[in-house]
């Protein structure tokens, strides 16, 4: 089976929205934690294995004012960082 480009959040990871402008993703199995901002939170909440990166980026552009042109790349980088740290994976293609 191949990987799709549909990111999926690791269900063990806890999202703590601590302040209006700050949240923490915490993996209780590894004790790893990562800080993020409201855009990261919005991305995280959309990583359901059904939306593609581009779907997520376009939803983010629609929900946040003044999203920069580079948003798609930044979102892809964020998801990559999550994947590298075991916070997320990519959904597998079902045949």
């Amino acid at each position: 089976m191949n990987q799709t480009d549909k990111p999926i959040a690791n269900p063990i990871v806890v999202l703590r929205e601590e302040f209006d402008d700050w949240a923490v993703l915490f993996n209780p199995d590894t004790a790893d934690a990562m800080g993020t901002n409201p855009v990261g939170v919005a991305v995280w909440k959309r990583m359901d294995g059904k939306r593609s990166l581009e779907d997520i980026a376009s939803e983010i552009r629609n929900s946040f004012e003044d999203t920069p042109d580079a948003a798609s790349k930044e979102i892809a980088d964020f998801v990559n960082t999550l994947a590298e740290n075991g916070f997320a994976g990519l959904e597998l293609e079902s045949k």
Partner: protein
Amino acid sequence: MPEELKDKIESTASKVMRTPRSLDIEITARCNLRCRYCYFFNNPAVEYRDLPTDEWLKFFDELGSLGVMNVTLAGGEPFIRKDLPILLEGIARNRMRFSFLSNGALIDDEIAAFIARTGRCEHVQVSVDGSCAEVHDSCRGQGSFDGAIRGIRTLQRHRIGVAVRVTIHRSNVNDLDNIAHFLLEELGLPNFGTNSAGYMGTCCVNADDLLLNIEERKEAMVTLLRLTANNNGRISADAGPLADGRMWRRMEEARVQNEPAFHNGGRLTACGCPSNKISVRADGAIVPCNMLAHVKLGRINHDSLAEIWKNSPALNQLRNRYTIPLTGFEFCAGCSYIPYCTGNCPGLAYTLTGMVDHPSPDACLRRFLEEGGAVV
């Protein structure tokens, strides 16, 4: 905790996060020992009774829904609970990590193996107060040293992180060199922490025999500062002679050099805990901290923790303690350390003066010097 997250907590000290990050939970009011300096027992404000398993499991579900990251299980002695595996499963199911404060004696292979399998244990802190049974048992009771060491070795066999805490009092202050050697060399621990017996709970009854006098305090500071320097900083302290020794050195240097005020100086800032953690007593009472067990904020499974966290007047009053200037206290009148002083632990301030919003005389540098102490 990553540095980035610590910085965030510090930079937002005046803001309150939506839910606590961690909780200190006294999971039981029972203990196999009766240590002579125990802060937990003999507190007239506390009801000593245990809650059934279901109550804790329900509460852990609430913590999970609030995104709490860690719980520290204390007591009494947490390993006395026969339902501990069920409780730990409840914590793990709610995506939290846990640690313990223990006397070590009840830790056996079975529970250690269980803990190791969860993969969620930060560490087990075991109290060791002497390099040998004679010293350790003098305050903690016969057989307690062997129990603690057996517990530590069991944890080590199961590769569970062990943190050791040494509580310094009059009977072990002369054993510190031996204790450091025993813990760092013989037991092979990477480090250990220290504090000292404080005027709380059972210790108040035995204060004269236990609390360090000025000379002993000075001696403990000198010894611990030397030991930690000689052991690459492997001895730590948040309170007690080592913490005081370090803080008082900085305060004295600042005063002599006429340095600008410390960022947390001149006000009652010592306690940052209420901005990121909260505690629960064994009877289910929610309190700001185990050291302030008389300040009841509500009850688990009866009051919403999130609501207490955000809106409890008593908790918010404690959080605002940092706005109270030391210049307003008769106790501090004319003190040249004011710009560098944090007013120290509110729990000890309460037991020693009857007031939470007061500097604690216990860690007052001026008083220590007036009574014959010295900055070492």
